[in-house]
């Protein structure tokens, strides 16, 4: 393994993050505060409890997941797309690195950034509502796995994208609806039975359910199934990336 290369890519990507530190920090704080004002206070005051949990606290795991998934995808996709766009990808392709090292560098940095944002949101949320974390280790594990798996998806999107419009397309048209419809702001038991069944085909449901379980010890789907889903998703993304580098799809002519 070329650990030096992994560290170099990681540091280079994190430097981009630190250059925009204020934006990286303020943006999640502001958006979380707005969510709590709108959903937690304005709407939440009319909803007493969901599954025995105050609505303000109930939406915390969903809010974190929403931002973490979006951040993981956007950071990783931009991270690998930008060198393609400006031509600096030549350096990666001509360096003594393999696909795993490139992925570890880019995905590791993107996951770290998303983890930072997730932590900021968690701290901001604590200013608005009282909540407890029933299973802290499981919470961290779910958070890490989510950051990692969606950063992998973002990496695939970044390689696939041929322009900036395509870079936004998948997150905008697929991921955001899946996250919003994945139970971020409600329990799927609140849906009519038919929609409950349809919702179970949404992979994000398993993530949010598992993550919410780590907070409140209550879940829409069994926790084991949540872990299996996120594990399977991570494996699928890794397999796709392995294929991309083996064939050189969209990166090596």
């Amino acid at each position: 393994m070329n650990w030096g290369a992994i560290a170099a890519i990681y540091r280079f990507e994190m430097a981009r993050f630190f250059r925009t530190m204020l934006q990286s920090f303020l943006s999640p704080v502001l958006s979380t505060s707005l969510y709590f004002v709108v959903f937690g206070t304005a709407i939440g005051s009319r909803i007493e409890q969901v599954e025995g949990i105050g609505y303000g606290g109930f939406i915390v795991p969903g809010l974190i997941m929403l931002s973490v998934i979006t951040q993981s995808i956007s950071n990783a996709s931009f991270g690998i797309y930008f060198p393609k766009f400006i031509g600096t990808i030549y350096e990666l392709l001509s360096a003594p690195v393999n696909f795993l090292e490139i992925v570890l560098g880019y995905v590791g940095a993107a996951a770290t950034k998303a983890l930072f944002v997730g932590t900021v949101i968690l701290c901001t949320a604590a200013l608005f509502v009282d909540f407890q974390i029933a299973h802290p280790l499981a919470m961290v594990a779910f958070l890490l796995l989510t950051c990692l798996s969606f950063a992998l998806l973002g990496f695939i999107i970044g390689i696939w994208a041929g322009n900036f419009e395509q870079l936004q397309l998948v997150p905008l048209l697929i991921v955001t609806p899946l996250v919003f419809l994945g139970g971020s702001f409600y329990s799927i038991t609140m849906l009519p039975p038919v929609w409950q069944t349809i919702t179970l085909f949404n992979p994000v449901v398993y993530l949010i359910s598992g993550f919410r379980w780590s907070f409140f010890d209550t879940a829409d789907v069994p926790v084991g199934l949540s872990l299996l889903a996120i594990g399977g998703f991570t494996f699928l993304c890794l397999a796709v990336i392995w294929w991309i580098f083996r064939t050189g799809w969209r990166i090596r002519s």
């Binding site: 030096g4 290369a5 981009r16 250059r19 030549y90 990666l92 090596r252």
Partner: protein, 309 residues
């Protein structure tokens, strides 16, 4: 000397069937400077990209320092530094960081003293904390060179390194290339500036339509293919070449006061003595005599035009 770079029957066919390389074979010795000349689209950049790992070869074999570029890619690429044709740099990154990144990418430990030496040599040390986007085009090209040198390559590819740069940087580049050669670095450069190839290359390869038309020592190529001209200035103009002087290669130029004789330096009988004797016998008085050797550019144009149907 041993072959540092060995290319055997290298072929590259892109999707759609375009054959960019049609079986290139070339051996380059350690410490040698070879210049690849060719028109746009000849296959120069594809050849470099394929050796460096940016493009996948369709067939053939390439070894760098004895390491196969596919089977033993880490060792092969670890020896290679690449200065690309296009200026491709992260605009918001600082000069020092981007050069450090390049060294790290090759798995080398940080060596601040080395990086300072490289940046100073390229007159970039004052700009080490500047963002790349603040630099001029010439400075950006220097950054590309610094990045390529950051991991101390043994084989350096310079793809059009002096395209669009000022005379000062071009001269500086030539000096750097000479220093690297003195350190035993093997250098392969592509260029449109033929005087550049003539000035710094040990050997010259001419590539066109994906084929290597020839590879020869620069001096040998010049003497083998170089035509010489002798210009004889007459003290008085003449209206036509006297019949006793007429011979292939001789023409009247200027305002009838210059005789131009083109001859092949490699020919068994050049005919110079005969020409001068005939001029004297014809009663013509000489005012001056000049000789001129055809430049590599003319040789190159001749070669490529011979190939073009």
């Amino acid at each position: 000397m041993s072959a540092m770079l060995s290319i055997r029957d290298l072929r590259k066919t892109y999707e759609g069937g375009f054959q960019a390389l049609k079986g290139v074979t070339l051996e380059i010795e350690q410490g040698e400077i070879i210049a690849l000349l060719g028109p746009n689209g000849a296959g120069k950049t594809t050849l470099i990209s394929t050796i460096c790992g940016i493009t996948t070869p369709t067939a053939g074999e390439v070894t760098v320092g004895g390491h196969d570029i596919l089977r033993d890619f880490r060792a092969a690429r670890g020896l290679i530094g690449l200065v690309p044709q296009e200026i491709a740099l992260e605009p918001f990154e600082r000069v020092l960081n981007t050069v450090r990144f390049s060294r790290g990418l090759f798995g080398h430990r940080r060596d601040e003293a080395l990086i300072e030496r490289i940046l100073r040599r390229l007159s970039l040390w004052d700009k080490k904390d500047a963002q790349v986007k603040e630099l001029s085009g010439g400075m950006k090209r220097r950054v590309l060179i610094a990045k390529a040198l950051a991991h101390e390559p043994r084989v350096l590819f310079l793809d059009e390194p002096t395209a669009g740069v000022d005379v000062e940087l071009r001269k500086d580049m030539w000096d750097i290339v000479a220093e690297l050669k003195a350190d035993g670095v093997t250098i392969i450069l592509t260029t449109h500036y033929i005087e550049e190839a003539e000035a710094i290359a040990d050997r010259i390869g001419v590539i066109n339509r994906g084929e290597l038309l020839l590879v020869e020592q620069t001096s040998a190529l010049m003497s083998r293919l170089g035509k010489k001209q002798i210009e004889v200035q007459l003290s008085a103009a003449i209206s036509a070449i006297p019949p006793t002087l007429a011979r292939p290669g001789l023409s009247l130029a200027g305002e009838g006061d210059v005789l131009v004789f083109e001859y092949d330096t490699q020919a068994e009988r050049i005919g110079l003595t005969g020409l001068l004797n005939a001029i004297a016998a014809a009663g013509l008085v000489l005012r001056d005599v000049n000789t001129r050797q055809s430049s590599l550019e003319e040789i190159f144009v001749d070669l490529v035009s011979e190939e073009t149907p």
